[in-house]
Amino acid sequence: MDGLHSGLFYAFAAASVAGGLLTGLSTGRRRALGLALVAVGLAGLFADLDAGFAALLTLVAFGASTLLLLRPGGLRAEPELEPGGLLRQLGAALAGVVFLVLAYIAFRGGYFAGYQAAGSFSSAALGRILVGHDALSLEAVAAALLVGAAALTLFGRVRAR
């Protein structure tokens, strides 16, 4: 990426990181502000990657989330954070572990290169296979996994009540 795109990346990344921290660690209007910051940052990053429609849809999705938090019912139904609760603490710790694992994969995967009988391969070649050749099957499996995980989370909360 050239200098302009790199500068835009760092600006929008800073907005996304600040918004992510606000969303994860605060409540109420600060949380809504965090979501709005992430919306601007993510949409800018998508636009920086020449994915204009994804940027537009991201703005719509995050804008709806922000409105959901800002409406009177959303704020009223949101209690203050409590430090207790073994499951919540376990979930927060697991979120940290997930971040560490993904960050390790990002740093190591970018510089990975090896050799096999058929020749050399790298993370870029793996990306070509997954996203380029088998894009449809990868999309189907990953979408099923993500939707299932999110539905399980919501279902668990419904049952807990």
């Binding site: 050239d2 790199s6 990346f9 760092y10 990344a13 996304s16 990181v17 992510g20 969303t23 994860g24 660690l25 409540t27 949380r31 979501l35 992430v38 993510l42 990053l45 998508f46 990657l49 994915a51 994804a54 849809l57 991201t58 999705a61 995050f62 709806a64 989330s65 959901l68 938090l69 019912g73 959303g74 139904a77 949101e78 209690p79 979930g91 697991l94 940290g96 997930v98 971040f99 993904l102 960050a103 994969i105 990002a106 740093f107 970018g110 793996l126 990306g127 070509r128 996203v131 380029g132 894009a135 999309e139 990953a142 979408a143 993500l146 939707v147 999110a150 919501l154 909360r157 419904v158």
Partner: protein, 91 residues
């Protein structure tokens, strides 16, 4: 320093973990559902970045299509969260 694939992957990982943290820490439906678009957004950013940096020029739309799909799913979950929040609100 020029931004590359690793930078985007690192940022996507952070957003995914922040969304997971938001879902885990909140007790209300509205609070928990608000973390889901963050997780979907992080995953979509990684996919678009991989399709931009690690695939041929003709295949770049594959990752973008998946990011659009993820944003639509996140929007659907926001709708589900709004409905659940309305259902549990005292009349």
């Amino acid at each position: 320093m020029s931004a590359g694939l690793v930078h985007f992957l690192f940022l996507g990982a952070f957003l995914f973990a922040a969304g997971a943290l938001a879902v885990a820490r909140q007790r209300s439906f509205a609070g928990a559902v608000a973390g889901l678009p963050l997780m979907f957004g992080g995953a979509g950013l990684d996919l678009v970045a991989v399709s931009r940096f690690a695939t041929a020029a003709s295949d770049q739309l594959a990752g973008q299509a998946f990011a659009v799909l993820l944003a639509a799913v996140a929007l659907a979950f926001v709708g589900v969260g709004a409905a659940l929040n309305r259902l549990e609100a005292p009349r």
